[in-house]
Every structure is written in C-alpha cells, then in structure tokens.
Amino acid sequence: MKYSDLTLPLDHDWMPDEVLPVAAHFYLAPKYHPDKGIVLGSETGTCLTLPAVFAAFRKTARLHEIAIDELFLRATTILEIRADERQEITESEMRRALEGCKAPRGNALLLRTGWGDRGTHNEPGSRYIMASPHLTLPAAELLAAFMADHESALLLTDLALIGWPDKHLLPEWNSLFPRPGPWPSTEAQMFLHLYTAEKAKDDFAVELTLARANIMTVKRLIHCKELSSDRLRVIVSPLHIVRGVSSTCRVIAVEE
C-alpha cells in the first residue's frame, strides 16, 4: 500500500487561503493566552463542502449524517485537465476530458489540474487563490451531468477556487487597497454585512450547479501529481461536526 497526504498543512504562521472576506483567519493562541485553542473557519485549508452550505439546499445531508463509506476508502477516478495560472476551464476542455475518462459507476472523481503541485501554496501573497485556475459555468454543468450519470457524488480537486466569484466578490474586495485581512477583520465584517444572498448566487453559480446535482466537493488538494488512477482510493476526513455543512479536512490517497 502507498499512502499520500493530499492535505494543505494548517500553518499557524500563515495560510495561503486567507485572501477573501469569506475566509476566516486560522490561528493557534499560546497556552496562557485567553484565546488558547484552535480557531479556524469551516473552509480553512483543504476542505469538504456539502450542498447544504447553500440556503437553497439546507434541507440536505449534514456532516454528521454522511455515511462513513461515502468519505473513507472511496474508490476514485482521476479526471485530468492540465490548467495554467488563471485559466478558465471551458466546456470543450471538460468535454474532451470526460470523453477520455473511464470512471466506474459510483467512483469519486478527482479533477487534477496541476495547480496543487506548483508550490504556490507555499509562496507569500495571494497568488494561490487569486491565480487559481477554475471552472466556467458550462464546464461545471457538463461535469455535474456526467457525475449524475455515473452516480458519483464526490468531487475532489486541486483547484484553490472551483468557480470564479467575479460578479461582485472579487471586483468589490479587490478595490480595497491594501487588501484587508479575512474575517474577522473590520473590513471583512462590513463587506459581508453588505454581501447579499443575491450577490452570492451570482458569484457562486458554479458551486451552486454542483450542489444542485447533490455533489460534495473537496478543494485545495496538494501533491496529486504522483497519483495513478488504477486502484486509487481516497480518505476524506472532515471534523465530525453536528449539523455542519463544511469542514477543513485531511485527505489521504491509498494506492494498492
């Protein structure tokens, strides 16, 4: 058996995903500090997101209700779409990749773009998030249809962002210079106070498309380069949060 850890480390010095106001600052306070403990967001680092993260699907399964065999030792097929910095993965690229994808029914899909192997998650600055390749809406619709057809409800990827929130979130947040910190900075709190459900619907159209197809997503994998599609299983290990809708998680690949 060969095991590979595909998880972004939770680094108390610096996290590469703390760029947008929707992210929460991760920190560990020292033991004699009043805040002693572990403070993290539900999507800190490598994370699992359920459809129930969205209000429209809040009646669907929560973290504590997910059957263990949907996440642990799940047979997985790799869907390869090499993508450059900032690249939009288009419908035609997705179609080509899906045509070559021999996914047995029920397998999870691991969309490997190479972004998690470039080391940008180790670099200072916002490039890991702001230069991530991402899916266009037509590509996501095609992927969702393919996964529904293959009874596959778990999508893993090395993308830092799956969709591209460029309708409101990115232009409005990026207009603030220097860029403020993530939640709970004052600016992030103010931003989210004015960030309506309608804006979120526009920004997260790709994620909503996947959620509508009842697909759980795991993003921000690293070190996927060496994985082979044959006899690959993944372990997705989130925190076991009662009524949770997303969680930082540990992801391990098991190759026989």
Partner: protein
Amino acid sequence: MKLIDLTMPVWPGAGYGEILPFTNTPVEFVEYMDYAKNGLRQTCMKLNGETGSPLMVAAQHAPFDMTPIQKNPRFTWTLDEIPLQELVLHDTAVLDIPATEGHEITVDEMAAALKAADFRKGDHVLLRSGWGSLERAYEMGIDYLKKSPSVHYDAAALLAEKMEQLDSKMFMTDCALVNPPRVQGYNWFLGDAPIIPLPKPWPSAEARERLMDMGGSYAYAHTSREPSSYGALIRKSIACGKCLINCMQITKKRVEMIILPLKIKKGGASSCRFVAVE
C-alpha cells in the same frame, strides 16, 4: 469490508470542552455568513486540542511549548510528523475491559485483558470499556466525563510496559478520561475541596487563580499527588486518543484503524477522526 466510525462529534457546548480548567476550552461556533443574509453558511470555530475524540502527542502544548508532558518520551513527533503508516489502516488489538460508571480499571483486570487479547508485535491498542456512546454523551453532559471509567496508574503502567515490549506505538480508548476523574479533576470537580458550582475552563477567573496556585505553570495539568495514568501511557506512545465512541460495534479482536488528526504544523493535539476497518 466494514467501516465503523468511532469519532465523538463536535458541537458547541459539548461536555468535553467544559470539564477541566486548562486542557479544555469550550467549543464555540460563530456563524459569520448565514443563510438568511448571505445565502450560504460559513462558521468560525473555536476548538482545542481535546475537542471531540482527540489525538495527543507527548508535546501536547506544541507548537508554542515543545516540552513533553512526561520526561523522556519514547517518541517526539508532532501531529504533522507522524508517518502515515502509523495512521492509516494500522493493525490494532482490541483490549476488552468492560467497565461501568466510575470504575477504575485495576492492574489485575489489565493483566487478564492482555492475556485474552490477540496483541501482536507492532499493533496499536484500543482499550474498550464500553463507556463510549454518543447517546450517553448527549444525555449526561459533563457527567459523561466526571463519571467515566478510567485506568488506575498501576494498570496503565502494566499496559505501557507491554506496549514497549511489543513495539506498540499508539493507545486509544473509549473512556472519556484516561486518568481517574478523582486525579484529573482533583480539587476542581472532585477531591478534598471541589469548587461548587463548577467554574468554566480557561480563561475563567477560577482557572487563572488555579494557575497562580500551581506556581504559574500547568505543564503537569492535575494537582493530585497521585501519578498520572495518562502520563505512563503517553511516555511510551507516539500519541494517545481518548473519548472514542461506538467501540462495541467492533466484532473482531483485531481491526485496522484509520486515525486522522488535523494536519496542524508542529501541532501537539487536535480533534481527530477514528475509524475501525473490519
């Protein structure tokens, strides 16, 4: 292949976050994006190293204090340094010692259980008392920990010795506390002068006062004069896990364990997922 989830869930206000003055802090959630206003939910969570079913290495207070809680530990890895071979599908012997409310597992019971178990070289150990159940944890609140069965020091010392002999590197249990509550909670919730009503954990005024009484350090977190059962075990282990549930669903004497803590850089303890594979 049968998978059994042995993980205590995480929820705000859980008893395991309320019981001890220093090693616990309350579990708190803040919904900073919510369905009604933002159309989606994002949560900021305050946890600690012993939330849910935790996994703890000898340097439990790492990364800020790398001092192990017992001197000269056999292993000095932090959470992110534990080799995956120790965490994924590792052979594990189930050590059966049924124990009811408040029972301290004795050295004779431990010796008998070791004799009956199919404990092989290199195995991890899962001590099953039968206490760990979600229904019980929900129902009892902090009493789930106060009244938990536990391991007497002599029994822990015997097990630790056997673990070293067999090159066993990980200890897990469904007891909510490894140390007897009278030791762990000495003069906090039990002992000669328990504090009534029970104060909140750190950073409550009472916890800060207790720290003053302890000379400003809680490197060795309980004030009882009795030796630490947990200390005997962690000294010989890569890490220890406690507060597991559902262990009675295991039907075999040996299982493979998946043990996945958060990948905290140089971390000393974290909430962890424990899954048995039969």
